[in-house]
């Protein structure tokens, strides 16, 4: 099958949905002729013009506000944060206006907020954040975070068609580093369905985003040591596919939670809690969480590597669990 980069898959999803549905349009900073700072909307302006590829002032509040208002008024906006870090400037619009909207008044908001996130790019504390735990804790926002070009396309199409607000976390490091098979036609990867990206028998590792690839790398290395890792890629954090995670865990009885975000109060803590609450008796060893250090993302490559979760961290966790 044809291969696309992760970033290209995202673009294709947007383009196909725009072609298929007049209500779908793009709004964000520098998304026009520039094509977005990571080039994700390249060519869209040329194809669809400035009505459907709307280049905005520096106003995250307005971008999220437009997503809310336009989705209320019949459209399907695909809004972009230039970096997910900047959502803090529109936090009230996202958390106070969008998130509780359906609860308060029963009106749904079919918009997508694309949030390029994550580190490994040597661009420091303000361009590398993984802020998903803030949203995860906040009722009313769906959250997805694809790890492959295939999922990137399919999840984005599903997100655009979903009737509720979806925060779509796309990992910047994967844009033009990761290639994979992507069908040409349009397809959905349903929200709320995890995937087993590697079957294994000894230990389950649950992850999402870039970190899934670290897990894959670790799994290959561990195989040589005779440790078999099963990798669950959550793909969606909300809705959360507890079943797939629990089923995998009940098979292996040992589990690692891996994410790039800060460990403390991160999504991993919730996942661990769910395992303890719903499958405690299956635990053959204490579950292990791996996440980033509890500091801002450092700029220097040496410091950032030290800050981020590493393959080595996974190896150590797996060895510990294996021998437990």
């Amino acid at each position: 099958m044809r291969e696309l980069y992760y970033g290209e898959a995202i673009r294709e999803a947007v383009r196909q949905e725009m072609r298929a549905d007049e209500r779908v349009y793009v709004v964000g900073e520098d998304v026009g002729t520039y094509g977005g700072v990571y080039g994700i909307s390249k060519g869209l302006f040329e194809e669809f013009g400035d009505k459907r590829v709307k280049n905005t002032p520096i106003s995250e509040i307005s971008i999220v506000g437009e997503a809310i208002g336009a989705s209320l008024n019949g459209l399907r906006p695909v809004a972009e944060m230039q970096f997910s870090d900047f959502i803090t400037t529109a936090m009230s619009t996202l958390f106070d206006a969008a998130a509780p909207f359906y609860f308060r008044i029963g009106a749904n908001l079919p918009f997508v907020l694309r949030c390029p996130f994550g580190g490994g790019q040597r661009i420091g504390p303000y361009h590398s954040k993984c802020p998903e735990a803030w949203m995860f804790h906040t009722p009313g926002l769906k959250i997805v975070a694809p790890s492959t070009p295939y999922d990137a396309k399919g999840l984005l199409i599903a997100a655009i068609r979903d009737p509720d607000p979806v925060i779509y976390f796309e990992h910047k490091k994967l844009y033009y580093e990761l290639k994979g098979e992507v069908p040409e036609e349009s397809y959905e990867v349903p929200l709320g369905k995890a995937s087993i990206v590697r079957e294994g028998s000894d230990i389950t590792i649950v992850s999402y985003g870039w970190m899934v690839h670290l897990a894959r790398e670790a799994a290959k290395l561990l195989e040589k040591e005779g440790i078999s890792l099963e990798i669950v890629d959550l793909r969606s954090l909300c809705p959360l596919d507890e079943e797939t995670m629990l089923a995998s865990f009940k098979k292996t009885n040992k589990i690692i939670f891996l994410h790039e975000a800060w460990l403390r109060g991160g999504v991993g803590a919730e996942l661990l809690s769910i395992i303890c609450e719903k499958a405690f008796d299956y635990l053959a060893a204490p579950p292990i969480r791996i996440g980033a250090k509890n500091t801002p993302v450092p700029y220097s490559p040496l410091l950032e590597d030290d800050y981020l979760p590493s393959v080595q961290d996974i190896l150590e966790a797996a060895r510990k669990l294996k021998s437990a």
Partner: protein, 341 residues
């Protein structure tokens, strides 16, 4: 503070005539709003706290009704209104019934938010009423989005987005107005300058001489009107909605008025100088409107009495009805935060 009271002389707008029914309808809604909110206050002050009809707190627009009634009266059915917390008038104009309002206040079965949100935080997307969000200016960027979608779809609808003099200090208002300017969005920003933000007078809210002049910084027109004169408010806002409908972009209308009650039903507002209140009470929007109608021979004393009786009866009925309804009970359906789970 005094410096904020002067209102730029309004141009002679007698040329745009308002049909008699519109004038009478505005008068009716001024009265209805007043009566409804007076009742909210007396109920709040006299109710059994263990079985309240006014749950939590109430927010009133007493003395400022002309802004909400006058501005919303310019709208067509398909236009949109993004409510602030001083917009009971607009809710009534846009078709909410007093019964619905008291059901909402009382968290009763049949209330529009089903008890999930309270007091003036209600709306209805089908009626193109966007409910107030507490973070003050929070509705403006949503109003922009609604307006952007109207442009996108080629519809000729407009949006009214009101906010207060206190809210005017917030960043969200700046972002929304600048954005509306760039895209020439069909939005009319209605600034309710009631000179207070809870206990903070406008002089401590901004050093600006005139809030409407902020429009200069966004590249669209701004003007001030007497917020206690429903006819003037209507004229100014109508001019702006017409402009918006013609595709010429947003306008900022600063309506100058005074908050005659406390910030909410719980606030005696002892910090507001008595003389100021007294002065403004003389400019009560209902008196102003009644005087206008009488002068123009559009309302006889008998008719006036009839409207007042009608209004009282409606509110009596609404209170009684709301009281007769059971409280909303928890149910899984009410816990939904998504349309599609």
């Amino acid at each position: 503070m005094g410096r904020h009271l002067k209102v730029a002389a309004t141009e002679n707008r007698e040329s745009i005539t308002i049909p008699r029914e519109k004038l009478l309808s505005m008068y009716y809604y001024l009265l209805l709003t007043r009566e409804l909110e007076n009742r909210v206050l007396t109920l709040y002050q006299n109710q059994n706290p263990m079985d309240p009809l006014i749950v939590g707190k109430g927010y009133l627009s007493t003395g400022q009704e002309a802004i909400s009634v006058g501005s919303s009266s310019t709208l067509e059915k398909d236009d949109w209104f993004c409510a602030s917390h001083r917009d009971m008038g607009a809710h009534l104009v846009r078709g909410f019934t007093p019964r619905e309002v008291f059901l909402q206040y009382g968290c009763r079965e049949g209330s529009i938010t089903k008890g999930r949100d309270g007091n003036v935080h209600f709306g209805d997307i089908n009626r193109h009423m966007i409910p107030f969000i507490s973070h003050m200016g929070a509705n403006l960027p949503i109003g922009n989005g609604v307006a952007a979608a109207a442009l996108y779809k080629g519809e000729k609808t407009v949006v009214i987005a009101p906010f207060g003099d206190g809210a005017a200090s917030q960043g969200v208002i700046h972002e929304a107005m600048n954005y509306a300017g760039v895209f020439k969005l069909p939005v009319v920003f209605v600034l309710n300058n009631n000179q207070w933000a809870i206990s903070t007078p406008i002089s401590r809210q901004t050093a600006a001489k005139n809030l409407y002049e902020r429009a200069i910084g966004y590249g669209f027109p701004g003007k001030a009107v007497d917020g206690n004169n429903v006819v003037e408010v209507y004229h100014a806002v109508k001019e702006a909605t017409d402009r918006a409908r013609r595709g010429e972009g947003p306008t900022l209308i600063e309506c100058r008025t005074m908050r005659l009650t406390g910030h909410g039903t719980h606030d005696p507002a002892t910090y507001v100088p008595k003389e100021e209140l007294e002065m403004w009470k003389k400019k009560d929007p209902i008196l102003v409107c009644r005087h206008y109608l009488t002068e123009k021979n559009l309302l006889s004393p008998e008719e006036d009495k009839k409207v007042q009786e009608r209004v009282t009866a409606e509110i009596d009925d609404a209170v009684e009805y709301a009281r007769s309804q059971p409280l909303i009970k928890p149910s899984p359906e009410l816990d939904r935060v998504f349309l599609k789970m």
